[in-house]
């Protein structure tokens, strides 16, 4: 019994032994108090939250050695061993800021990052679909941002005085060869990839990461969506065709398929067209998407796109409209992309992928047949991780293989072929050094080897960003970029060196209350551009040169007016280059001095509709008039376009969509084609390159069938 009593008494008394009071103050690196910090002894309930002045105080019954911990969002955990041997212990806690995604400055020079998950984006993936005039085309929407030049008859991206092939597209880090639909000469093409496939887009107009090679002017990096969350069927009935898509989702994966058929014939029957179509464009497309989560946080993605399209038209002679030539094109396109991302441990992650592009064009020009095919394989592995709290490293290797062949069968009796097989091996490494949440430096370098030239090149790149205030920052970027010459040029001269550019960019940005102001200035120098020796297109050298410089402004506000979101972009561009057939330095035909866009979106809750318009304006484009002695000195009239769109949701699962480009019906002229021979008066006659039709009217009905009716296709519009 004695023992029992002793034990009981020990138990009872043990709970009322010495108490220790722990107090102190929590401050940050600047000595400012951090209220709300959770200060406590490890593995006990004993602790307190710091008050407004950073002070804290609590009592503990713990004895001996213990760990004092302090935690608060945005700071690193503070741990200090304490010896609970006095009645009162005072601990001064100084918290160190973590380099957090939320607070840290990001490099904005040249970059427009759009990611729906991120909070500081100034251009969202959903914006692409809802921009009037873009008709859900990625390039169309990006053309309303500064740094781009609207080239109406092309529809492609032209960035800062660069040709359209200088802007490359990457999906999940993997390069895409030819990201645009095949179209007739001088009719705008659309991107092959629909915007709603992507959760994020990063559009860079220069100074981008060393991860992206083979891009001279711009990198458009698209991040495809992760696993689909719900099983659903989408049906689209369009004025130019229709599509059906089905998505099946399960716990750790999803699969989706889509079939689309487009035929512009019924539409062209209704609206007068500038083009003399024999068979208007018709295309059939199948898309497959597969996602599977692997292990704890791994994700495997697969995407496949198969497209078959064809059209034929008559090309009329400029001198004699009665003389016409048949132009018939059939295009087959395949793009396969598999990628994998996973973390290796808490600090490191790996992502990699394999992409395959195949493009085949079969063109018949009257009696001549041109068969052209391009195949590309890109394999890449990238490791990312932190070397320390303030230093992050990204490094990787990649191989890009490109195979091109072109055969021309003249009148079916003589042939002429070119081909090449290019292999580029590259490695890159890049470090991010965070001095604080306010200041970051990114230094990287890229090493590339090309089998055709047998040359290796090193491209250093660096950038930095500094927060000048709570909402403003300055960013600077410099880099060297290279890209192999276009396939039609390399096939003629396989020894052609890569074309090169240097970018120098300075940017100021201020983001406050959903309002963004941005101003950017840049200088770009081109070297080793491909040039025709003595005007001979079969004698190619790398002696071309050029430059581009400009100032750009961007203002976006989705705060001041309720339910209204609008942005305004202005770009000034001064560029000249000497390349291809240019006899001397001149401004190329695609470059315009002033580009302006105003995009307005208004959601009207009472009629459950989003109404929007886009106004674009560019000054005249240069063109070359062979009747004059000077080169590229002509100027077309200015370009202007007002496009409108309305999306109406009568029911949760139903969307009606109407859009119309160029509602004012302005007769925009993109340039002039000149006849190759003179007429009776000794002059070269010309014909204006116009819009295929004054307006493009698009109607769509989108239906979504799913178990819960709250899902609709709005995000895809």
């Amino acid at each position: 019994m004695k023992i029992l009593l002793t034990m009981l008494s020990v138990f009872v008394f043990s709970s009322s032994v010495c108490q220790v009071t722990i107090s102190g103050r929590v401050t940050d690196g600047q000595g400012e108090p951090v209220p709300g910090t959770n200060v406590f002894l490890k593995d006990t309930y004993d602790g307190a939250s710091s008050l407004g002045d950073g002070s804290f105080e609590f009592i503990t019954t713990a004895v001996g050695k213990a760990d004092l911990i302090a935690k608060f969002i945005g700071y690193r955990d503070f741990v200090q061993p304490v010896l609970l041997d006095a009645q009162r212990i005072v601990v001064e806690i100084r918290l160190e800021e973590t380099i957090s995604e939320l607070k840290a400055v990001t490099i904005t020079a040249g970059a427009f990052t759009a990611n729906d998950a991120s909070r500081r984006t100034i251009f969202k993936a959903a914006d692409i679909a809802s921009t009037a005039g873009a008709t859900a085309d990625i390039a169309g929407a990006l053309n309303t941002l500064p740094g781009t030049q609207k080239v109406g008859e092309s529809g492609r991206l032209f960035v800062r005085g660069g040709d359209s092939n200088e802007a490359r597209t990457f999906i999940d880090g993997m390069v895409v060869l030819d990201a645009y639909n095949t179209t007739a000469p001088n009719t705008p093409s659309r991107g092959r990839f629909l915007p709603f496939m992507f959760k994020g887009t990063s559009f860079s107009t220069g100074g981008y990461s060393a991860e992206y090679g083979q891009a001279l002017s711009s990198a458009l990096v698209l991040d495809s969506k992760d696993k689909a969350e719900s099983t659903r069927t989408d049906i689209g009935i369009l004025s130019v065709g229709g599509d059906v898509a089905h998505t099946q989702a399960w716990d750790r994966g999803s699969v989706a398929g889509k079939i689309q058929y487009t035929n512009i014939r019924p539409y062209f029957g209704l609206i007068n067209q500038e083009i003399d179509w024999k068979t208007p464009p018709e295309s059939t497309e199948a898309v497959g998407v597969f996602r599977q989560q692997v292990g704890k946080d791994g994700l495997f993605k697969f995407y496949g796109n198969f497209n078959h399209s064809n059209f034929s038209l008559y090309h009329h002679d400029i001198n004699d409209n009665g003389v016409k030539q048949l132009y018939d094109l059939t295009n087959n396109y395949r793009y396969l992309n598999g990628s994998y991302i996973s973390s290796i441990n808490e600090k490191w992650s790996v992502h990699g992928g394999l992409s395959y592009s195949y493009i085949q064009n079969n063109t018949q020009i009257e009696f001549d047949n041109i068969l052209e095919s391009e195949k590309g394989i890109h394999a890449k592995t990238v490791f990312e991780g932190s070397l320390s709290v303030r230093v992050e490293l990204k490094t990787g290797i990649e191989v890009m293989q490109r195979n091109y062949a072109k055969s021309i069968y003249f009148n079916a009796d003589s042939t002429y072929s070119h081909w090449f097989n290019e292999l580029i091996a590259a490695g890159f490494a890049e470090v991010y050094i965070y001095a604080s949440n306010k200041f970051v430096v990114r230094i990287g370098t890229r090493l590339e080897y090309c089998n055709l030239t047998g040359k290796a090149g090193v491209d250093p790149r660096g950038s930095l960003a500094y927060k000048t205030g709570a909402t403003s920052q300055v960013s600077f970027a410099y880099g060297k970029f290279r890209q192999s010459a276009k396939h039609n040029l390399v096939s003629i001269n396989q020894a052609l060196d890569a074309e090169k550019a240097d970018h120098l960019i300075l940017n100021y940005q201020r983001v406050e209350n959903n309002r963004t102001f941005r101003v950017e200035t840049y200088y770009k120098r081109y070297e080793d551009l491909v040039k025709y020796e003595n005007g001979n297109p079969l004698l190619l050298t790398n002696t071309g040169k050029g430059f581009a410089r400009g100032v750009e402004l961007f203002w976006r506000d989705n705060h001041s007016i309720k339910n209204v979101d609008y942005w305004f972009s202005y770009s000034f561009l001064d560029t000249k280059r000497e390349y291809l057939d240019f006899p001397h330095r001149a401004t190329p035909a695609f470059a315009t001095a002033h580009n302006l866009s105003f995009v307005y979106k208004h959601f009207v809750p009472s009629i459950r509709s989003q109404v929007g318009f886009t106004y674009s304006y560019t000054t005249g484009r240069p063109f070359n008039d062979p009747n004059t002695a000077s080169f590229n000195k002509g100027k077309t009239p200015y370009y202007a376009d007002l496009s409108v769109n309305v999306a109406y949701l009568p029911r949760q699962f139903l969307i009606l969509y109407v859009s119309c480009t160029n509602v004012l019906g302005r007769d925009n002229i993109f340039g002039y084609e000149y006849s190759t021979t003179t007429d009776g008066t000794g002059a070269y006659r010309r014909r204006a390159i116009r819009q295929a039709a004054p307006r493009f009217l698009f109607l769509g009905i989108f239906i979504t069938l799913s178990k819960d009716k709250s899902v609709n296709q709005l995000p895809s519009l």
């Binding site: 023992i3 138990f11 910090t37 935690k71 945005g74 909070r119 969350e229 719900s230 459950r608 899902v711």
Partner: protein, 216 residues
């Protein structure tokens, strides 16, 4: 004597073990109840932060209890609902999600925890309704459905779902029939709800009462 001794030692040990177990349990429950009460009734951000901190301390000490993480997450959701700044709102919701993940690893995929996850998704919409609405509304509805499938008697999954349905019917100007049906079911489940766990979630009744006015 020896016999007695052994028995007394044994019984004393048993008593001690039982006592200390009971004592820690009581201590746990009391500490939890105090802070849960604050989370339910807090009038200010500072009060909420303090309760959340206390819950996180308990969670860090009690490695096998899911409730502290659950209520800390609930507290962060309440903080997010009071916050105007979108970025801060998101950071509170990130904290809430971290707590939900911890609760899940301890308690598996519990219906209450899943319903709370749906609540986070619902709150995400308020940061940027135009952009996030279409994506997160579907996601939240699905998560509420998942929570109900795991436990059809969970009234919170139902009342949150009703809230979402009210939102959509308002947007489309359609009658709130679906929402009211879900709400009626939620109210029935609230009335029938009984748990042996003194720390079982109790919130949501007031939300249901407030919504009922929209149906009458």
């Amino acid at each position: 004597m020896k016999k007695v001794n052994i028995i007394s030692i044994l019984s004393a040990t048993l008593l001690l073990v039982a006592h200390s177990l009971l004592a820690t349990d009581i201590q746990y429950i009391e500490a939890m109840q105090k802070n849960i009460h604050v989370v339910y009734t807090a009038q200010s951000m500072a009060e909420l932060q303090e309760a959340v901190n206390a819950l996180q301390r308990i969670g860090a000490a009690e490695k096998n209890k899911w409730e502290p993480h659950y209520y800390a997450s609930f507290g962060y959701i309440m903080m997010a609902s009071r916050e105007q700044d979108g970025a801060k709102k998101d950071s509170y919701l990130d904290q809430a999600m971290a707590g939900i993940e911890k609760a899940k690893t301890i308690n598996g995929n519990d219906s209450e925890v899943v319903a709370l996850e749906g609540f986070v998704q619902m709150m995400r919409i308020t940061v940027d309704p135009g952009t996030r609405g279409p994506q997160y509304s579907g996601l939240a509805m699905q998560t509420f459905g998942k929570a109900s499938a795991m436990n059809p008697d969970n009234p919170r999954a139902l009342v949150l779902k009703a809230q979402m349905q009210f939102g959509t019917s308002k947007f489309f100007g359609s009658p709130a029939t679906d929402a009211c049906e879900t709400l009626d079911l939620a109210v029935t489940k609230f009335e029938a709800s009984a748990s042996t766990n003194p720390l079982a979630p109790q919130w949501g009744r007031e939300m249901a009462t407030a919504l009922q006015h929209e149906c009458n």
